[in-house]
């Protein structure tokens, strides 16, 4: 049975339920959010319908510029750290036996599926004074007494790298598994050491994959909404944290929505860029 062009209306019926659900509960909420971003704040309720651009005008303050700059910087840092750790790791992983690979994949998926709440709680425990890693350093004689390592920028970074690392590995995995093995064999036959072959053959061959992965991890890190709040100080808050804070705690849904629209635009631009990079590689 080949793929066929739908002939009658009845052929479209399978699309009815999925289409309806996705339009009513995704397209409509999304549009609602965009509409609300132009509404006025109503401290007593959610909002008052209106058409104002005040919510967007607030982007021009230095406070907002600071938050945006910090969010982007943090996401770039997380993406770079994750790809630097994950790329060689994933490459080596694909060279191991299937059993070992499967074991790692199960572990990585388990960590990846963990709630941000749990990751935040786990790292705040690991960095705490009473149960933290510094107790181990004291026991080893490296430190005099245990200290709390949070709230600090380092704690935020560690937590976010932890959250994004399994994601990075799983994004890189398909590309590295499918990498043509003859490429490496050729390099080895011509006398390159494994390390040299990795840096001079594998890495350049997957340059576009690496760029696309950097962008994907960057968008993933932009979405982190709890870790900067649990592990950092208010000045470490990112755009995602601020959106939650405005919408829920400051009951300023319109401003939160405006920031969300802004975040959508950044993410979409990056996803578009990534698809472009990906297409280039396929064309080669």
């Amino acid at each position: 049975m080949r793929r066929e062009v739908p002939k009658s209306f009845a052929d479209y019926t399978p699309l009815l339920f999925p289409g309806l659900m996705l339009v009513v509960f995704f397209v409509v909420p999304f549009s609602t959010m965009i509409a609300v971003s132009f509404f006025k704040r109503n401290p007593a309720g959610f909002y008052t319908p209106d058409f104002v651009v005040d919510n967007y005008a607030r982007f021009l303050t230095t406070f907002f510029a600071g938050v945006l700059g910090f969010s982007l910087m943090l996401a770039v840092l997380v993406a770079v750290c994750c790809v630097c750790i994950a790329f060689p790791f994933t490459y080596l992983l694909t060279k191991r036996s299937r059993r070992v690979q499967t074991l790692w994949l199960v572990g990585l998926l388990s960590v990846l599926s963990l709630s941000e709440v749990i990751i935040g709680f786990a790292w705040s425990t690991l960095f705490s004074q009473t149960a933290g890693i510094t107790n181990l350093f004291v026991a080893l004689g490296l430190m005099d007494k245990p200290v709390a390592l949070l709230p600090t920028f380092g704690a935020v970074l560690a937590g976010m790298v932890y959250q994004a690392l399994p994601y990075t590995i799983l994004v890189l995995y398909p590309a590295l598994v499918r990498l043509d093995p003859t490429l490496l064999e050729a390099a080895r036959t011509l006398g390159a050491s494994p390390v040299k072959a990795f840096f001079n053959v594998v890495t350049p061959a997957l340059r576009n994959t690496i760029v696309a992965t950097l962008i994907m991890v960057f968008v993933f890190a932009l979405g982190s909404y709890l870790l900067p709040q649990i592990l950092g100080r208010p000045r470490h808050w990112t755009l995602s944290v601020l959106i939650t804070d405005q919408a829920i705690y400051q009951s300023n849904m319109p401003f939160g929505a405006a920031m969300a629209v802004f975040l959508v635009l950044i993410s979409l631009a990056l996803v578009g860029l990534m698809l472009l990079v990906g297409r280039k590689e396929n064309a080669l």
Binding site: M1, R2, R3, E4, V5, L15, P18, G19, M21, L22, F25, F26, V28, P29, F30, T32, M33, V36, F46, P88, F89, L92, Q101, T102, L105, G107, L109, S110, V111, S113, L114, S115, E116, V117, I118, F121, T125, L126, T130, A131, I133, N135, Y162, L165, P174, V177, R178, P194, L222, Y225, I230, I243, T244, I248, M253, A257, A260, L263, V264, S267
Partner: protein, 267 residues
Amino acid sequence: MTATFLRRLYFTVVALFLAAPLIVVAGVSVNARQELTFPPKGFSLAWYGQIFADPEWRLALIHSVTLAVCSVAIAVAIALPLAWFLWRRIAPWANIFQVLGLAPFILPPVITALGFLTFWATVGLFGQFFTAIISHAIFFVTLPLVTLSLGFASIDRSLVEAAATMGADDRAVLKTVVLPLILPYLVSGYAFAFVLSLNEYIVAYMTIGFTTETLPIKIFNALRYGYTPTMASVSVFFVAVAALVFGSIARFGDIRRLLGAMSSEGN
């Protein structure tokens, strides 16, 4: 020799990084008294009993499981006909629905969550439990959609053709050939989405956070008011559930293929 050693070292460091916070949480969860110390003082499994014995934690567990079971069932009900249609028919414009199904997962979760918040607030249903079920169903439809699309792509079309030439109509082909072949993908799609729904915080919080506590919401609220070892035991419980589910998928299915390794044979 040195290369092997360096590789082992590298793998060990990554494994330690991934395991360290969980080891500490597991250690904390067996403290005899209500304190945050590691290594644990004394040994007690009482905090695991608390998940089921304490009425508040038990209620949060029931909420979370109900939410995951129902929402993912709806997600599969959306993904299955859609994936089947895209596989069976040539209708390029229908791909828009695939994009809509993938979008909630690619965009930062805060955005989808805020979209649901403004929507449910506008239609006046904010805070009702079923709104979270629908929201999760849409948010996680990506996973069954991706696994099912992989499943359909893996079907050998000549099998379907054979059934059709022997007189089977669409319904019969679907029932006797297609569904049995994609069942493993359906189950893994459900399982993936189930685990993630169980762990999800922000969408649940923005839809029903003010009226109902799921486990992640309960942990976060408890975190703000201080510490109880039950948080640690619940966290370990979550890790165990995830490992169990993904372990079963690996045991009974082909997890490498699901994650994009094309050649499931050989290697």
